[in-house]
């Protein structure tokens, strides 16, 4: 029994684990550390993903820029070709100008957020079809000629005397140009298809713009109408002057412009000016004026009245 008492049988087990609680880290602390670590890892991964996305978009950007550059070069080349073609064939010039205006307006609309999207192929093709149809229509259109005639400031009539007989069939006022525009048909209609539109210029109200559509299928009346002093007589088919960009017409198609408002000598018309200054031409011009004036019954009456009035005045003073 004594033997047993000498042997220490205790295992020295710590029955109270809570004795070292302050030395062991808390559960919550561990959790927060893990969370922090996780956050850091996820942020880094997110950053890596962002970086990848940025690289991808940058590459796409570079590709788009390259495509844009190539397309720009092609477009410019094509445009210069077209310009060459137009300069060689001036008849199509007006059609091209119309087309360009449309294209420019489309571009402006898009630049202003007009709704061009990445997948706008269908839209593009439909607009192309429309433009194609329009172009065909424009080619079918009859010949357009435009004449500018300066009138006196107090003259409000929309009459341009050109030697032909016209029948007025309409008048319209639009918001962009408040002065009315008058529509005329050739007196030989319906056999003659020519139409005339007369309107005052927006820029200069003293200028009448007459736009002729089509060609007369009958000879020019031999008897040229008398011309009032306010309105010069115009005969079409004489000369074609360059089209001033500021004045435009609603009629599409090839246009011949005869500008009778410009008094400034044109370098191209030097020869014609010389011819006009020649005594033969001036004599012819005076004869023409005299014959036109004598054909005008109102001028005759006015002249007769003036002469008789003068005689009466003289008689009264003599008495």
């Amino acid at each position: 029994m004594e033997y047993f008492s000498l042997v220490d049988t205790s295992l020295d087990l710590n029955a109270n684990p809570l004795r070292h609680i302050d030395e062991v880290p808390d559960n919550k602390e561990i959790q927060s550390t893990f969370l922090e670590l996780g956050r850091k890892i996820s942020a880094k991964e997110e950053n890596r993903a962002l970086m990848e996305e940025l690289n991808r978009v940058s590459a796409e950007n570079k590709k788009l820029t390259g495509m844009l550059t190539v397309l720009c070069e092609n477009y410019n080349a094509l445009r210069s070709q077209l310009m060459d073609y137009v300069s060689k064939n001036p008849v199509v010039e007006q059609v091209v100008v119309g087309k360009k205006r449309k294209a420019d307006s489309t571009a402006t609309a898009t630049a202003n957020g007009g709704g061009a999207n990445g997948g706008g192929n269908s839209e593009s093709s439909s607009s192309d079809e429309d433009s194609c149809k329009k172009t065909k229509g424009e080619h079918v259109k009859a010949k357009i000629s435009r004449v500018y005639v300066r009138t006196e400031a107090n003259d409000t009539s929309l009459i341009v005397k050109d030697g032909y007989q016209w029948r007025k069939y309409g008048q319209k006022v639009t918001r962009d140009n408040p002065s009315p525009r008058a529509y005329f048909k050739c007196a030989f209609a319906p056999s003659c298809p020519v139409k005339k539109k007369v309107q005052r210029s927006i820029e200069d109200q003293s200028v009448l713009v007459a736009t002729y559509e089509g060609e007369h299928n009958h000879p020019h009346p031999s008897r040229v109408e008398s011309t009032p002093s306010s309105n010069r007589c115009v005969t079409l088919g004489g000369s074609a002057a360059p089209f001033p960009a500021s004045l435009s017409s609603s009629f599409p198609g090839p246009t011949i412009t005869l500008d009778l408002t410009k008094s400034k000598p044109n370098p191209d018309s030097k020869n014609s000016n010389q011819a006009m200054n020649s005594p033969e031409f001036q004599q012819f011009f005076v004869e023409q004026m005299a014959s036109s004036l004598t054909k005008d019954p109102s001028f005759k009456a006015a002249l007769a009245a003036a002469i008789s009035g003068r005689f009466l005045q003289q008689n009264q003073t003599e008495k």
């Binding site: 850091k40 942020a43 880094k44 997110e46 950053n47 962002l50 970086m51 996305e53 940025l54 978009v57 940058s58 796409e60 950007n61 788009l64 820029t65 495509m67 844009l68 397309l71 720009c72 092609n74 477009y75 094509l78 445009r79 070709q81 077209l82 073609y85 091209v96 087309k99 294209a103 489309t106 571009a107 898009t110 630049a111 061009a116 999207n117 990445g118 706008g120 593009s124 093709s125 607009s127 192309d128 433009s131 194609c132 172009t135």
Partner: protein, 41 residues
Amino acid sequence: VKQEASALVEELNRVNAENKKLTEMLTVLCENYNALQRHLM
């Protein structure tokens, strides 16, 4: 890390906007080019 992320997001937005603009320009130019080509045909 957070600052880097915000800078990256900003850059990404800028590049995306530029991309969109480029795409729009490309679309318009394509339309014009096609129209011109058809016209020349």
